[in-house]
Amino acid sequence: MNRLLGIVLAALLGVLAFVVPFLTPDPNGTEYGAKLAAPSWAHLLGTDQAGRDVLARIAAGTWVSLGTALLVAVITFAVGLAVGMLAALAGGVVDTVISRVIDVTLAVPQLVLALAIVGVLGPGHANLVLAMSVAGWAHLARFARAFASQQTERPFVIASRMSGVGRWRSAARHVMPATATGVLAVATLHIGEIVLSLAGLSFLGLGVSPPTAEWGQMVAEARGYVDRAPWLVLAPAVAVLVSVAAASLLGDALQDRGKR
């Protein structure tokens, strides 16, 4: 049931990203004669302060907001998996050092670390991705390490090691796939959090530059019109909500499958 809802929501976002752009006007195309128009058949979600189609901007924003979150998720997933597996398989000093680094990184709240990085390097899309990735990998690495050590102790892995398969080859064949699946579930659960954080940072003006459509920034720009054009705030807010819901439902489903 939950999994189905998650798939439906994800499909909805997919349609928004891949299909809607072909059906709507240019997201940056201004039409000052039709400013702040209420939702209608011509503009399903109305228009904004520059007469731009809100649905088109929400759809374009999928690529920026959700796309960035996915990028950060992929980076943190890859780094977390690699570092965690390395710690689990190498053991000894390598494991101790990596574990300490993970502990310290986790001791700094993610968003605060991201703010520190953006604060010193300056706002901007690339810096934001860097900041969120640096702040987010450690959690996944800790998880990957725990999961991989568990896997190495499973009977068939030990058996394959005893039959003469090398440590690293055995890891690649047996430990890696299971660990990756487990970490993927956690990473998926994290996407929602990343979407929220990115929207917050963009709202504060630390993200992409205008006129690029980004959900958090769309809310920030719409604050002056909330009494006359509430759809300007509601549409991006719902987009964020749907993304977070999809990520958490799918993440839960993946985790359940991993447990079975």
Binding site: Q110, L115, G200, V219, A220
Partner: protein
Amino acid sequence: MLQALLRRAGQALLTLFIAAVVVWSLQLVAPGDPARRVLGALGFSNPTDEQIASTRRELGLDVSAPQRLLQWLLNAVTGDFGTSWRTGRPVTGELVERLPATLRLAVVALLLALLVAVPLALVAARWRGRAPDVGARAVMFLGAATPSFVVGTVVLELIVLRGGIGRVLADGSWGGAVLPAIPLALGAGAGWARVLRTSLVEVSDAPFIQISQARGATPLRRLLVHAMPSALPALLAAIGLTVGSLLAGAAVVETVFTWPGIGRYLIEAIGARDVPVVQATVLLGVLGYVVVSTVVDGVTIAITGKVKR
């Protein structure tokens, strides 16, 4: 147990030290010449080489990086974080001025969040799997997934402007903290409720609870008296985590409500690339988190008598 507590405190200090080194070192990779930026902030649009050189001396940029780091750390221990590049005033003084407002906001938000979380979790756990549970979980989800700036914008529009309740020009007082605390409390409370519900449900299935049921305790009494104490560590851990993200959350809410706290100060500093202020504020956020999570761990150790891993 004492040994465990001491070890935890030692870990916290080490973490804080490493975090300080990392936060300071970030500026080494920052683009642009800080001396030029400081002069720009003071109104010198085309500074001469002489001015730049003397500013570099004033900022202490003419000595090597390790020396500067050491000096900064030594000063930081005594509570001196240098002067703001933007205003030329001591950072510590500016932070101390703004800290009470943020602490007030935080305390009110945490209280409100508890007020949201505990009843919601109890309702959900009491009627597990039934309509109230589904409803409560939907509320938890919406609360956690709605961006705080959206909640803040709606609160301003509906409660302050249409309802005529509260003020727009926040003065940083206890009374004024209630409205800005709502967006923070909603997000945090919803998250805590989820954690508390899960652990209440887990504990309820434990044998000793089943026994109390057999003895005829009412469901609510069972939850409150028997299950709650065992579910508490999980809630405490969740609260600790929330405090960690409080500075970032406060940055958003303080911007929406023009709350005169350190969150907004941090955002202003980021806009002006006022590095000393960013460093000090972030370190303060880390300090708050490390202290709270150490205390939470300490309490958990005291309650359960063992070290959590």
